[in-house]
């Protein structure tokens, strides 16, 4: 029997993988993908509790998150493209203009 605890464990694992990916990777595309992992970890939680609590609001929320993630991916990929055209690299360490 799959209980909410299992979902939460899966979700936590996915979240941690995403966070670590954001922290340690240098490739912006990979970091982006890690952010998607974080968002989807949240989605799993939302849907798991929606099913558990028989409340549709969680599922609606998840759909919203997917929509926002899609929009974010579009904007983010646009930024990455513009950055690449300037610097000819997508290494995150080169992205340090906002400093003292």
């Amino acid at each position: 029997m799959i209980t909410p605890t299992h979902y939460m464990l899966l979700s936590a694992a996915l979240f941690m993988i995403g966070v670590i990916g954001v922290m340690v990777r240098r490739n912006i595309i990979i970091i982006f993908m890690s952010i998607e992992l974080i968002l989807n970890a949240v989605n799993i939680n939302l849907i798991a509790f929606s099913a558990e609590l028989h409340n549709a609001i969680g599922q609606v929320f998840a759909v919203f998150v997917i929509a926002v993630a899609a929009a974010e991916a579009a904007v983010g990929l646009g930024i990455i493209l513009a950055f690449y055209r300037n610097k000819e690299t997508i290494n995150i360490d080169e992205m340090n203009l906002m400093r003292w």
Partner: protein, 757 residues
């Protein structure tokens, strides 16, 4: 007569017209016409008013007109609480002011007419200015005369002083004239100071300034015999005012210098009217003065000493106008003597007769100066009788009048004064008699030097001499142009030459040289010699000559079968009004009148004897003058050299001007210089010190600003900058750093949430 206020206003209007419009746009004729017309109208109105005054019963002869309120009622402290200080523009016509009114308007009109000819060679605007001043003078003089309270009188008093200043300095481009104007004004200021103190004290004592009310109140007070009370103090202050205006010792010095003004001015202001204002003011306050016998004594002494001193100076002066000026001072001294011995009517009577004959003499001297093209030194005249017959005849009448030869006007008035002085105090009488002797002497000396003897003046173009002579003898003015050539010099020459300057130029050769230099040097064409003056100048002379003969007939004393009409006419002005309420004042007034009446006529024989004596004195003076200056001119020179010290003393006017210069004027200068030093050191020092303090404190304040305030601000900035070194290390610009920090933060907060709570 409700319109007496119009009498001063008419010349005032003339002055306004001439002053506002005339100076810019009137011709000489128009300006003269405006002035003469307003004065004639005032004279006519004055005559009507006087006629109506005569029509009233003797004890009710007074018109009071309150034209308008001037100072509304204000409470002001008097010696017994608060009184209401209220001054109206009030005019009062009574016998005394009526007499003065006729003198001022009558002689004023004649002198205006005379001036139209005398000033004919002045520039156009100057003539209008002259007539503006002259009319303004008449306006103020009539205010002075007609005012029914002290303050209106004071307005007139100050106004005539101002006009006197303006007219003395009429030729203001000449330094001596403007100096003389200033001298007159400043000397008068000292007198006015006394007068206004007197006015203050009058209000403080009586709570009113109305002459009638003051008279009635003073009449009720006891006579201050042997002590010096408040009435005496008032009278003393008023007398100080009178000495300034009427040129008495010690303030007489301005009058001789006032001769710098045009001669008509000397005649009107400095002989006939303004200088008598002091006498008039004393007469106005006769009741006050009769209650202060101590001050009366002072008045009499000052008067007789002034008369004597001025007459003695007049003995040796060479400037024709200066002789007349000292004569005026001397005659004013007579008037004050009369006032001082209580003979108010006699003083006022002499004032009137003097106005006639002295105006006549001044205008005559003006005619002579005019004829001599501005020459005023009598040593350069002589034998003018045949060139100036009208002037000679009229001046002779004036001279006989002033010398006191019956039946001319001066005899009656002067004799009345001497008689009253004899009754009061023998010493004063003796001094007065000596003055009479000197008066006769210096006046006939003037006549002798001017009209008799040999001609000592400058030569003129000979071919016209016969014409001039015949024309003059026939009493016709010079055919072609009677005065234009010579007259142009007048302005330059109407200078009173100081005696010191003249003293060394006594030889006849020197005269000629000097005169040629003076007259030939100007190049104004030939001078046609002395000539009779034009009609507008001789006509006033003739009218005044008639006045000098008949003016005395109103005061023929009882001893000679007359009624002494003027004394009875004037008497109500000098005593407490009979309408006074209550018994006490009336009693006093009656007592005073009776007292005077009893004293006035003790013995007809004595009076006749005194008259004979004074005629004798006058004749003696005339005889001496004739002997010294006509028969044997060398005698006078011999006397002058024998008593050279005395002669020089007199010629230099007792060195009074020098004395005043050394004391009062030098003292004022020294005080001014000391004050200036004080100003420079203390006041300027204080101001500069304040400036320095401000500069120093500003510098200190700037220093504080720069160090403390700016230092604090910079310190804050410095602290921020230094501390930023630590914190800015956080700003790596690397997104992953920020994310890590966020992670730690969340971890920390969650840990706190979970464990610490």
């Amino acid at each position: 007569m409700r319109y007496i206020w119009l009498i001063p206003l008419l010349p005032g209007a003339g002055a306004a017209i001439n002053g506002l419009v005339g100076i810019r746009s009137f011709s000489r004729k128009t300006a003269g016409l405006v002035a003469c017309a307003t004065m004639t109208a005032a004279l006519a109105l004055a005559l009507v008013a006087f006629w109506q005054l005569l029509g009233l019963p003797a004890d009710a002869r007074a018109y009071d007109v309150n034209l308008a309120s001037w100072i509304p009622k204000i409470p002001l402290a008097t010696h017994d609480g608060f009184g209401n200080f209220e001054v109206p523009w009030g005019f009062r016509l009574d016998p005394l002011s009526g007499m003065m009114l006729l003198v001022v308007t009558g002689i004023g009109t004649l002198i205006h007419v005379y001036s139209t000819a005398y000033m004919a060679d002045e520039p156009r605007g100057g003539v209008a200015r002259f007539f503006c001043y002259l009319n303004l003078f008449c306006f103020f003089m009539l205010m002075l005369v007609l005012g029914n309270n002290f303050l209106v009188m004071f307005v007139g008093w100050e106004g005539v002083g101002l006009c006197s200043y303006l007219l003395i300095g009429y030729w203001y481009e000449k330094k001596s004239a403007s100096d003389a104007g200033k001298k007159a004004f400043i000397t008068n200021r000292i007198g006015d100071w006394g007068f206004i103190l007197g006015i203050f004290l009058v209000y403080y004592t009586f709570g009113t300034l109305d002459f009638r009310a003051v008279q009635n109140a003073a009449g009720a007070m006891p006579i201050e015999t042997g002590h010096f009370g408040v009435l005496s103090l008032i009278c003393l202050f008023l007398f100080v005012g009178a000495t300034g205006k009427s040129a008495q010792i010690p303030l007489y010095v301005w009058l001789p210098d006032a001769m710098e003004g045009p001669t008509p001015v000397s005649a009107l202001i400095h002989a006939a009217t303004m200088v008598t204002a002091g006498v008039y003011m004393l007469g106005r306050n006769a009741v006050l003065f009769t209650h202060a016998p101590e001050v009366m004594t002072i008045v009499a002494i000052v008067g007789v000493l002034t008369a004597l001193m001025a007459a003695s100076i007049g003995l040796v002066q060479y400037d024709i106008k200066r002789v007349l000026a000292y004569s005026t001072v001397s005659q004013l001294g007579y008037m004050f003597t009369a006032m001082g011995v209580g003979a108010f009517s006699a003083g006022a009577f002499h004032l009137m007769t003097h106005a006639f004959f002295k105006a006549l003499l001044f205008l005559g001297s003006g005619s002579v100066i005019h004829a001599m093209a501005g020459e005023q030194d009598m040593r350069r005249m002589g034998a003018l009788k045949k060139y100036l017959p009208v002037t000679f005849a009229t001046m002779m009448i004036g001279t006989l009048a002033i010398a006191g030869i019956p039946p001319f006007a001066g005899f009656f008035s002067k004799d009345e004064i001497l008689f009253r002085a004899f009754m009061a105090n023998k010493i004063i009488w003796v001094l007065g008699g000596a003055t009479a002797l000197m008066t006769a002497f210096y006046m006939f000396r003037l006549m002798a030097m001017t009209f008799f003897g040999t001609y000592r003046g400058p030569a003129w173009e000979t071919h016209s001499r016969a014409d001039v002579a015949t024309a003059a003898i026939h009493g016709v003015s010079h055919p072609a142009d009677p005065h234009a050539h010579g007259q142009a010099h007048k302005k330059n020459h109407e200078v009173s030459h100081g005696p010191a300057e003249l003293h060394d130029s006594s030889g006849p050769g020197h005269h000629a040289a000097h005169a040629d230099d003076a007259h030939g040097g100007h190049g104004h064409g030939p001078w046609h010699g002395p000539h009779e003056s034009p009609k507008p100048m001789t006509l006033p002379l003739q009218i005044l000559a008639v006045g000098a003969i008949v003016a005395g007939f109103v005061g023929i004393p009882t001893a000679l079968g007359g009624g002494n009409a003027i004394e009875h006419f004037l008497e109500p002005s000098f005593t407490v009004s009979s309408h006074a309420e209550g018994g006490a004042p009336a009693e006093h007034g009656a007592a005073a009148t009776e007292h005077e009446g009893a004293e006035a006529h003790p013995s007809t024989a004595v009076e006749l004897g005194l008259m004979g004596l004074s005629v004798l004195i006058a004749a003696l003076g005339i005889g001496l003058a004739h002997r010294f200056y006509v028969a044997q001119p060398e005698i006078s020179e011999g006397l002058a050299s024998r008593f050279s010290g005395l002669h020089r003393l007199l010629l230099n006017k007792y060195y009074v001007d020098e004395l005043y210069g050394a004391t009062a004027i030098a003292g004022t200068f020294a005080a001014a210089r000391r004050l200036w030093t004080f100003d420079r050191r203390a006041v300027d020092g204080a101001v500069n010190g304040t400036g320095w303090i401000t500069v120093i404190s500003a510098w200190l304040s700037g220093l504080t600003d720069r160090t403390v305030v700016d230092g604090l601000v910079n310190l804050v900035g410095w602290i921020v900058r230094e501390s930023s070194h630590a914190f800015r290390r956080l700003q790596t610009g690397l997104v992953q750093n920020y994310a890590l920090l966020m992670l730690f933060g969340i971890f920390a907060f969650v840990s706190i949430y979970l464990f610490v709570r």
